[in-house]
């Protein structure tokens, strides 16, 4: 793969990762679902493994924020990439605002496999785990 393709893939991957965080924290469930491949998987530690957009929609519709929250994603490393597939590893912190202000509820990691489908980078598999 040429270096410029690698940079393009990296931009697409980082874009999908950011779009997921924005859509999730905004409670835009349909936009979250659309970031997964039709045959994509979201595997969330302690919650379950959800395969396909219907299963993903059912789960994420129960995660619509009830109070201000943010997932801050950082330290993304693209661990492999080709023309139409990439893997990436990122850290995140989950902040929620309660009566006592903002607090860090969870810190974790995303391990992602993304496929390029019709020009868009989509999650084929997202594994979410928490730092215990």
């Amino acid at each position: 793969m040429s270096n410029s393709t690698e940079a393009e893939a990296a931009a697409g991957v980082r874009g999908a990762i950011a779009a997921y965080a924005h859509a999730l924290d905004d409670g835009r469930t349909e936009d979250v679902v659309a970031l997964f491949c039709p045959d994509g998987t979201s595997d969330i530690a302690g919650v379950g493994k959800f395969v396909g957009r219907d299963a993903i929609r059912a789960t994420y519709s129960n995660m619509v924020p009830t109070q201000p929250q943010r997932h801050m994603v950082a330290n993304t490393v693209i661990t492999s990439s080709s023309e139409d597939m990439a893997t990436a590893s990122s850290d995140f912190a989950f902040f929620q605002r309660g009566d006592a202000g903002w607090s860090t509820l969870v810190v974790g990691r995303y391990e992602d496999t993304l496929h390029r489908r019709d020009g868009d980078w989509l999650f084929y598999e997202r594994l979410t785990s928490y730092v215990m």
Binding site: S4, A11, N75, L105, V106, V107
Partner: protein, 132 residues
Amino acid sequence: MTESTQARVATAVRELIGAHTQAQDAGRADDIVELYTPDGVLEVPGFGEIAGHDALREAFLGWAPTQPQRHLVANTLITSATEEQATATSDVAFFQRGESGWSVQVLGRYEDVLRFHGGAWRFHKRTTTYQA
């Protein structure tokens, strides 16, 4: 430098910073050291300048995590880039989990000088400052 070269260098620099952060929070001192040029320098408040692989290894072994922690590095701005050298400025938040959960211990900034050395981008100098 062409636009695609700039994108390629920017991608490599972000990957490098991400790799350093992930290795540091996992306590992989040898992996961190490999990300520095042989004459690489790390400057940390209270520790002065730590120069060269042996000194860096010793320092990072001393900083190996004793409880769950994460550095989240964000707002990376590539301030200059050529085929051989780049500079970047990033913000960092350091989270640690104690008995009462996760908390932000330190906010700081990284000023990095990166060099293309031995076929890969590496840290030539990282200057860490803490927000007072």
